[in-house]
Structures are given as structure tokens and as C-alpha cells.
Symmetry: C2
Subunit: 303 residues, 2 copies
């Protein structure tokens, strides 16, 4: 099972002909995590035929409209589709205050519960974990409190080699421990080393989402070596001053961050509506960090 | 100058691959009127390259999410685009209570003012007028207070016949009255009848928007003879019971209304997401009222 990132929208404040406001769906270890939810998120899902039955948690980076205006529509539709599973929203605590009156008015008698989890965007800490995935906040530098998210797979079990298990007549009840790396001791007292019985699991994947943010070296240690970094690149370097004023990054700055953090690949996005030819942004980023991908709406990327 | 209706979205509660939630832009006498504002309205405008510099008034039929969730995004973008003209919203008074806290949170320091006008959806009355257009509410029958809107052009001035004006040496200051139908009396006391000096203006256009609503004969006298009727057709006749329960109309019912009201043409829309082949809805409507048009997203219709 691959980990994938589906970009639903990678525009910025103003939607364009091509780009919806920000929203991404991360699919990892049989679960779906929605990251930000700009206007039209549910529409993009419909257009792509994305099923959301494994979506339990939504992470909101900050409370600017282009990252949250799609929430009420998405939730309202979940209600109409008779969703019953709890929906968890992780965000700055103000979101609950803003959303709750709308939910009361528009979504009465919903067949599921919304659970708000307050995230302190100034801290880098574990904000969610389950059996197979951990999520950490990444403090970012923006005009309002804002944080990115680091998604980390937990180590998987080792794969057993069926033939060897049969050969040593290892009983089924021992298998779970062997998958976790234990050696096997036969009735004769012979120790069969684990590496003969199993092969190594896939390396756990790590994905970091950093949007919106001014350029900042403070995030480097947190995102060090991730398999995939999504980093905003709202502007070109020529608009560096505007980037600084609005606390956004340039494509070049996104690439520098990727390089310093030694990430495996970089996806850029959150493009200002002024750029019709986004390839210019890609070019600028590639000049610094070759393995840059130009994020595009309605596209699925392997992590 | 033609009057046109641009359908931005003609889906219903759940958006589909094809249809955004409800929103329409009426352009008449050099002005734009937005009718309902479902999620993604501003996105559709961008996709179509619609400029909104002549948009001053928004009319909201009722407070279900698929008719209002796009408002906050649209308004927020107007703010970013430095709109300065007042924006008037005509709707049930509850909208202000719902929208105001969001505006305070997301749209501080907006360079323009939003003026809310409360509409009583139980009454058929004049709710707006300017030099050239009048708008009346049309009480509808839905699960929540809801009204449609009747847009009426005011009579235009008659067209002067330049040659005759010159021939009778009519001074410029008399022209406005002559355009309004007055005869001209020469210095010799001769009366020149207006019909020699002018030609008739275009007949004023009338457009009626009726969504969402259960079938009801009460609207017939109000919409009698309109040039164009938009009427919701959420269901097929086979789902008549469901239409009744949810207080929506079937395609056949929309057509019957159009026929009884003797309208010139009918555009249907607000289709339930269950209909993949919307032509079936068109067929059902055409069987009763031949001049039916299947409303489609991102399409411009002449009134």
C-alpha cells in the first residue's frame, strides 16, 4: 500500500481558472487525512471521484479563508450522506468558535459528531497518533498563528518468509512476535535468527506540509530528510519584498529549505493568482533543488 | 443591450462532477444581480472570466447551505481585490446573524460596506428598484422560509428618429420629453404626433427565479407571461413522493407551472445528484412544456 498525496487545490487567496484554494488529502496506511479545506474542497473530491469513508481527521494550518471556507460545505454534505463516524478537526481553537454557530444553523440533527482538537501552533509537538501514524505540529511564521504538519508512519512489522516458517514448523501464535523482530527458539533449543525468518519492512514514510509561511530556518531540523515536503511558493524571487510583507515564501526560498533539510522531494504550491505561467516558479525552484515538482490541482503524488 | 442569465451552478444539495451548487448571475440594463451563492460561486466566476464590477446586489432565496456557502469566499475576495462600492445583500434576516461573525473574523478592514436588506419571504412585494429595474419577492413553499425573485425591466424611453427631429428643428431640451412619448407643438401651433418622431422601445424583459420550491399554483399569477422562468426540477416524476417530502419540484411540475403561467421559456435546474443523465429531466419537462431548456453550469442564456 503506497502513501499518496492528492492535491485538491493549490491556489492561494484568490482562486483562478486552474487552481482552487488550498486543500490536500493524504492517504497513508489505509487512512485518509485532510489537510486544510479551502472553498470547493468537496467539489474537487466529487470531480475526482474521491471516496472519503476512511477520512476521520482534518488538520487546519491556520484560519485564513482560503484554508477553511470549504469546511462547512464538506461537513454539511457528510451529514446529508449519513456519515456516522466522528469527525475530528485539529486546528487553532478559534475555529470551533467560528464554525459552531454555522453548524447549529445549517447542520442540525447531524448523524455524526464533530470533535474539535485545539492545536497550539507555536509548539512542535505530537498532536495525533494511532496504531500506524503520528502527526506533529510544525510552528510556521505567518500573519496569523499558523503551523504545518509532519506525518510519520510508525515502523511496520517485518515480513515473514512463509517457507521458513513452515520449515521450522513455527506455531501461528509465535508469528506476531517474530514479525516484530524476535528470534525463534526450537524445541531442541536451537536459536533461529529473525533475519532468516523475515525480510525488512518498507521504510516508514514521512511527509511534511508547510503552508503558509515566510522563509524560516527553524523548521529545518523538524522536516530533516522527509520523503516528501510540500512547501508553499506563493511568489517568485522578484517579488521577495511582497513575500516578506505578506509572510509568504518564494519558490527559491522553498527550494533552499528543501535543500537544507535534505528532503527527498519537494512539491511546491499555493501560487499567487498573478502567475499564469507557473513553470517559471518550477524553474526557479529547480535551479536550487532539482527534485522539485510543480503541485497541480486534482493530481495524485506518491510520497 | 441584451439581458442574459449566466448559470454558475445548477446542482442541488450535493455538488457533482458537473454541477456546482446554485448560483446565477443576471445581467440586465448594464447591471449585474447575483441570485443565490452556493459554494464555489467565485470559482465559477473566475473559470468563466466573469468581471463583477457592475455587481451591487445579491439576492438570496433561502438559508440552506447550497445557496449561501459561497458568500463568505466571494466577499472575502472582493475585499482582497479592493472593491470599494457598497455590496447589498437581500435575504432572510437570519443571514446577517450568521454572516456577521465570519466577516468580523475573516474580513477585517474591508474597503467596502456590506448592507443587509431583510426580505420577508412570505410576502410578494417590491424589494428593490432603481432607474431601470424592479425586483419583487415571490413566496415559495420549502422546508425553510424561501422566496423566488421576479426581475422586471422598467419601460425604456422611445427611440427618436433623428431625421424627423432635424426636419422639425426640435430643440435639444425637448428631446427627453419626446422620448417619453410627448407630442411636439411647433411655433405655428401645429401638433406633431409622437409616433412620427419616435419608434417604440424594446419590450421590457421579465425574468422569474423560483428555487427551491414544492409545486404550488400560488406563484402562477406572479410569474404570468415572463420572458424566462428558471424553475427548480430537483426530481423526476418517479420521485414525486420524495419531492413532496423534501418540498422540491419534479421536472413535470416545473413544466406545468411554466405552461399555466404561459411563460415564453423555461430553464430547469437544481438537479438532484442522483441524475447522471439529466436529459431525462429535460424530456419529462418538454413533454408538457416544449420550450424547456436544460440549465447547465457555466452557460449564458438570453432572457
Amino acid at each position: 500500500m503506497k502513501a499518496t498525496l492528492t492535491i485538491l487545490g493549490c491556489g492561494s487567496a484568490l482562486p483562478t481558472r486552474k487552481n482552487f484554494p488550498t486543500s490536500q488529502l493524504l492517504e497513508i496506511r489505509d487512512k485518509q487525512f485532510l489537510i486544510d479545506c479551502g472553498e470547493g474542497t468537496q467539489i474537487r473530491m466529487r470531480q475526482m471521484g474521491v471516496k472519503t469513508n476512511r477520512l476521520g481527521h482534518i488538520f487546519i494550518s491556520h484560519l485564513h479563508g482560503d484554508h477553511v471556507f470549504g469546511l462547512i460545505g464538506l461537513i454539511s454534505s457528510f451529514g446529508m450522506l449519513n456519515r456516522t463516524a466522528d469527525l475530528h478537526i485539529h486546528s487553532h481553537s478559534d475555529l470551533e468558535k467560528i464554525l459552531q454557530p454555522q453548524l447549529l444553523f445549517f447542520c442540525e440533527e447531524m448523524p455524526f459528531k464533530i470533535v474539535f482538537h485545539a492545536v497550539d501552533p507555536r509548539k512542535h509537538e505530537l498532536i495525533y497518533e494511532d496504531r500506524s501514524v503520528s502527526v506533529y505540529s510544525i510552528p510556521l511564521k505567518h500573519r496569523v498563528p499558523c503551523c504545518g504538519f509532519l506525518f510519520e508512519e510508525k515502523p511496520r512489522d517485518r515480513h515473514i518468509i512463509r517457507e521458513m516458517i513452515d520449515f521450522y514448523k513455527i506455531p501461528t501464535w509465535r508469528i506476531p512476535k517474530i514479525k516484530q523482530g524476535e528470534d525463534f527458539v526450537t524445541d531442541d533449543g536451537e536459536t533461529i535468527p529473525n533475519k532468516i525468518l523475515t525480510t525488512a519492512p518498507e521504510t516508514p514514510k514521512r511527509f511534511a506540509y508547510c503552508s503558509d509561511t515566510a522563509h524560516s530556518d527553524k523548521i529545518i531540523p523538524i522536516i530533516q530528510g522527509v520523503d516528501c515536503l510540500f512547501h508553499e511558493a506563493t511568489f517568485m524571487e522578484a517579488e521577495q519584498l511582497r513575500a516578506k510583507q505578506t509572510q509568504h515564501s518564494t519558490a527559491r526560498q522553498a527550494a533552499e529549505t528543501a535543500q537544507k533539510a535534505n528532503v527527498k522531494k519537494l512539491i511546491i504550491g499555493h501560487y499567487s493568482a498573478r502567475y499564469i505561467h507557473q513553470n517559471e516558479l518550477l524553474k526557479e525552484s529547480k535551479a536550487v533543488f532539482e527534485n522539485t515538482i510543480l503541485g497541480e490541482d486534482m493530481t495524485v503524488y506518491e510520497i
